[in-house]
């Protein structure tokens, strides 16, 4: 039986997904080869292991894994990017691959580091507890934008909308509005945006504490204030995304992820259906109520 689940290339998420869909065939989008299909739960070939014990700094970029090579085929007739720097509409793809592991260089407070370490250690136990993705919830904006599958941006008169294949996530940025005094916590948080020159500045609050910051297990608290800037580079052939986090409950100072660069790929705008919820109750990891079986 084919599931609509889509593979990711981060080993952390691969282990999660392989666990969640054990026994089911997995297919990816147009760039993912059959080599990636796995029924054994083992990560596909072509990825190095995560740094044991974590890393002391930014991980080096690794080559595009063999099973993602299809995404390197850019059609010759791809249209040029939209000229307007304030029009970000289109489909994009992150073709930069890293194995983040546990980042010891983040400005951790001790308890936050211990939580991150426990999440990282759980990956080796075969029952990952570090990401909401293993129970079919949205893992959060920073993870989704750092993954290596297509996403699409739409802009209406009042919103910037980001669509993701994974977890059929939808992020809404309410343009030129004040941040509400009361925000209901959600996996994507509540986002407002405005332009500063040619840079879109997105502020987000009310992000569910169970999401991570980026691809590493990097927890945060309910008082996180997140800022994302998006700017066209190279004539619109790339977007550069920069995340900054201010969470004094868990970190000693504000800090930033390394810039994320995504490529203009209008040929990938037809997003695949993603139905993780189809597996609810069908695996040993998730009950019919959609919670982790060991909770």
């Amino acid at each position: 039986m084919k599931s609509s689940a889509v593979l990711t290339v981060s080993v952390a998420v691969l282990v999660l997904l392989a666990g969640a869909s054990e026994g089911a065939q997995i297919s990816g989008g147009p760039g993912v080869s059959e080599q990636a299909v796995s029924t054994s739960g083992a990560p596909p070939e072509g990825l190095p292991p995560m740094p044991p014990g974590g890393s002391d700094g930014p991980p080096p970029e690794i080559p595009v894994p063999s099973f993602m090579q299809g995404y390197l085929n850019v059609p010759a007739d791809n249209p040029a990017p939209i000229a307007d720097p304030h029009n970000l509409e289109g489909a994009y793809l992150n073709l930069h691959f890293f194995m983040p592991g546990l980042r010891k260089d983040y400005p951790w407070k001790p308890e936050a580091f211990q939580r991150a370490k426990a999440a990282a250690d759980s990956l080796g136990e075969g029952v990952p507890k570090g990401s909401l993705s293993d129970v079919c919830r949205q893992p959060g904006m920073t993870t989704e934008l750092d993954l290596n599958f297509p996403f699409k941006i739409l802009q209406t008169g009042t919103e910037v909308i980001l669509l993701f294949e994974e977890y059929h996530s939808v992020i809404r940025v309410h343009m030129n509005e004040p941040m509400p005094a009361k925000i209901k916590t959600s996996y994507e948080g509540y986002s407002i945006g405005h332009w500063e020159g040619d840079k879109l500045v997105i502020e987000t609050k009310g992000i569910d504490s169970r999401t991570n910051l980026g691809l590493s297990p990097a927890p945060h608290g309910p008082n996180l204030s997140q800022t994302l800037t998006i700017e066209k580079k190279k004539g619109g052939q790339e977007l550069e995304l920069n995340f900054t986090f201010d969470d004094p409950d868990n970190y000693t100072r504000p800090w930033s992820l390394e810039p994320i660069r995504v490529n203009w790929r209008p040929d990938l705008g037809a997003l695949q259906e993603y139905d993780c919820e189809e597996t609810v109750g069908l695996t040993q990891h998730m009950t019919p109520d959609g919670i982790r079986a060991d909770q």
Binding site: S27, G90, L154, L271, E277, G290
Partner: protein, 245 residues
Amino acid sequence: MRKLIFFPLAVSAGMTLASGASASAQSPVYRGEVIPASAAPLEGVWQIDLKASGLPGYGASVPALTAEGEAGRRENQSRRKNNDTSFDLTAHCSNPGTPRLMSLPEPIQIVARGDDVTVLFQWNHLYRQIHVDGKAHEVEYPTATGMSVGHWKGSELIVDVAGRNDKTLLDDAIPNSADLKVEERYKVTENGTRLSYTVTLTDPKFLARAWIRHFVFDKVPNGKIGDDSCLDRLLEKQKSVPDGF
């Protein structure tokens, strides 16, 4: 694996270029930047009129079914009465598919561009894309919402959906096969305040003849789609969809 290649029936007409587009003989124009003139009224947030649509609570209709369709419907109804919803994947938040998604009480939002018309659902933050770019679209594998290819006929959007899987229901009890074909028609009426949605379903295995359903939506001025996590509602002991939907 059998693959279907789905060709559009017609090419979009009445196209205008949005400002800022740079068309040249050497570089194709990004169709996503092109907004068909006929598409503008469709954009926005819409709320289904349950009464006008004849949905549960307002005399939901039952189509003419084959013997197998009737047997499947009765069995599913019986199982649901005995609190067995294992036949309905939507009970644990799986995608309800096309057209059941369009019948849910939660609001929808439509964003129309020259490449895709995107329908966003508040229900479980789902969305589907209707490809209006005039290109062939391959069905890689059957899905709940299928592969939707549309074209404009004047101000009406006509959509054909192929590649549906057989894991969904047409309503809360009638099964569908993998041979289900769906045709949708979207038309904005009453000075832009109402959306008429007509869907024609053909499924020789379960439907004795084509089932035509007509839903009506009201425009929600300055409307916003809210956040929804179906699985979290299950954790709060709520149902994934209201009874009858």
